[in-house]
Amino acid sequence: MKDLVSIKDINREQIELILSTAASFKVVLQRDIKKVPALRGKTVVNLFFEPSTRTKTSFELAEKRLSTDVLNFSVPTSSVVKGETLLDTVRTIESYGVDYIVIRHSSSGVPHFISKNTHASVVNAGDGTNEHPTQALLDAFSILDKKETLEGLKIAIVGDVCHSRVAKSNIYLFSNFASEVRLVGPPTLVPEFKGYNVQYFNKIEDGIQGADVVMMLRIQSERMTKGFFPSTLEYASLWGLNSARLKLAKKDAIVMHPGPMNRGVEITSEVADSDQSIILEQVTNGLAVRMAVIYLLGRDNEQ
């Protein structure tokens, strides 16, 4: 595995290797000294073309805990605005002799482009509306923390699947484990996934009925002005997760959210702060999973 650009590029075995390695890192993260010298002398550049606090913080901390040298390269807009092509930017960064490039970009496909043009290992930290593979891995890791297996789990993903790179990476990941994925939301926000075994529900009540996992997606008010749904109020009333609706899911169902949450829109505070919510654990697990991903990249699979 040179890069982690898309969940579609890795198989079940590789996913399981990442998750089991993450488990070892989680142990490390519970110690007093939370740092290991695993990647001492290696350099990581965090190349963020899109503002991000959470993902960037998580990656940066993960990189520091692996003892890498961390370079942050934040470009608020596309480099093309400065008259530089993306290729120029990549080559400039490569000239520093970096070993890993963590890339976040508002355009889909940029990590693919970069991976083709660099020797460094590329980690996709979210590209456009395409994928967010480390988030899917940390979601899987968090679920496995609570459930024995992903096999056959009923997982409801509720909200703006159409624009959610998190949802897409999750759909691809769960397809490796024969989980029962249900996509819930208005047709304007739920696209068709022909090649994947998913079910579609317009009503949240139907979608989360008997679910083991309820994954809520962030709803962006920007979608409202573009006519994907009429108002946050209507969205909350039709697709928001509240305690009454959560009762339809299994008793031990867990509630997830990639953050940041819109309290009172896609999720009520009551649910977000309930015992069933593992939203904060997702954040903690994100560190361990990202450490595992960076640690494992750049080396062959064969023993």
Partner: protein, 432 residues
């Protein structure tokens, strides 16, 4: 070469005279003097003539591309009239019609005159500019069509974008009746296209790219056909890419609307799959569609619904294509692959050579009133000579166009032009 040339012993395909047989083409004073169809025992004597031995090759009336972007003036880093017309003759086109989306826009006779003069000075083939329908292609006020026609324009289009305001389009169609020239419609409903960058559908979802639905094209095809029918004006639909558009045009023709249509080689050759891997060379507008659309377009070509094969040659500088997919400009550099890709249709039995001659030479001339597309006695000697058996691999580095943006890189193709005659001047294009 002297001005008295004989193209000897080639297969002459000229749909205007319903000819498909071997013979000699005799050229004198830049005009076709005669065609000599071979008869047994007849041995013509060409004493004073320069003889071009062309046995095994095929000759057709010079190809005419009615949809080209030469980029000059304003975008000379992408293409110039000199490089674009050179690429044209390399591709077998003896005439091209450049679209007006230059900078400044060709929306007034001054720009038209500039293009024509520049083409005479530096061009390698005939250039018949297309003027803008509206000033600055802004879709608001009509451009000076009459004066541009006098300066040498042959048709009008806001290509690159549609005339979104239906009232403006209706007025333009009505006004164009004075001149009897067609308006070329780039059919795209901008509100449906929005931020779209590829065909809308499952693949767009998988790639996380915003889609452009087929209805974006089909709505404006329908609208403009209705407007043209109502106005009794001539309409030409540019770059048809969907099954729905073919159906709509077929019905319109049956009901007597004066509509013609073109498609481009990429729309009958490759599908949206070419976009996989975020290949910006496959980003084009309208976007590449699916297998069913290709089938419908081929059927449209077969039954005459689609009259013309044009290239929509849209060269871009390499740096402009090495960008994020959604930021890269749309367009395919098409002049130098169009013939070979079209010959595949002959191979597949979709078209005969005569049909091809019709779609790429005869009809373009007829629709735009250029007076070419024929090898009749006295016609201007514009001829394309093809080696239909010559195999080659498409290579960006070998393109003469400045635009190397081709999604056909590495593709094995058969059939290429070997020579052209432009206004009586013989050019061996293999030596270019």
């Amino acid at each position: 070469m002297s001005n008295k040339i004989v193209i000897r012993d080639c297969r002459i395909v000229d749909v205007s005279q319903d000819i498909d047989s071997s013979g000699d083409i005799i050229i004198e004073n830049n005009k076709v003097l005669d065609l000599v169809v071979h008869k047994p025992g007849l041995k013509p004597d060409y004493a004073d003539f320069e003889v071009v031995e062309a046995s095994g090759f095929m000759a057709m009336p010079g190809f005419i591309d009615i949809h080209t972007h030469l980029r000059e003036p304003g975008f000379e880093h992408k293409e110039t009239i000199a490089t674009g017309t050179l690429a044209a003759i390399k591709g077998g086109f003896t005439s091209v019609c450049p679209m007006p989306n230059t900078n400044p826009v060709n929306d007034n006779p001054t720009v038209t005159t500039f293009i024509i003069k520049r083409a005479m000075k530096r061009g390698s083939c005939n250039v018949y500019p297309i003027g803008a329908i509206t000033k600055g292609q802004n879709g608001e006020e009509l451009a000076e069509m009459g004066m541009m026609l006098e300066a040498g324009c042959v048709a009008f289009s806001d290509d690159g974008k549609p005339v979104m305001n239906a009232l403006v389009m209706k007025r333009a169609l009505e006004y164009s009746k004075v001149f009897g020239v067609p308006l070329i419609s780039h059919c795209e409903d901008m509100s449906l296209t929005a931020m779209g960058v590829m065909n809308e559908g499952y693949l767009a979802t998988l790639l996380g790219l915003e889609g452009i639905p087929r209805s974006s094209e089909e709505l404006i095809v329908s609208r403009d056909i209705m407007l043209a029918g109502y106005a009794g004006a001539r309409l030409h639909i540019a770059h048809v890419s969907t099954r729905g558009s073919v159906d709509i045009i077929r019905r319109a023709k049956a009901s007597g609307v004066q509509v013609t249509a073109e498609t481009c080689p990429h729309y009958f050759t490759i599908t949206e799959d070419a976009v996989k891997g975020y290949n910006t060379d496959a980003k084009v507008n309208p976007p590449l569609r699916c297998a069913e659309d290709i089938e419908a377009i081929k059927e449209g070509l077969r039954d005459g619904t689609i009259d013309v094969i044009a290239t929509d040659h849209a060269p871009h500088h390499a740096d402009e294509k090495v960008l994020e997919f959604d930021r890269a400009p749309s367009g395919i550099s098409g002049l130098e692959t169009a013939l070979s890709l079209s010959l595949r249709l002959v191979d597949e039995g979709v078209l005969t050579y005569s049909d091809l001659c019709k779609k790429i030479s005869y009809e373009p001339s007829k629709i735009f009133g250029i007076g070419k597309g024929t090898l009749k006695k006295g016609a201007c000697a514009d001829i394309t000579i093809i080696d239909t058996k010559k195999e080659f691999i498409v290579s960006k580095s070998k393109l003469l166009s400045k635009g190397k943006n081709t999604p056909f890189e590495g593709m094995n193709l058969m059939g290429m032009p070997v020579a052209v005659v432009v206004k009586g001047k013989y050019i061996n294009v293999l030596e270019l």
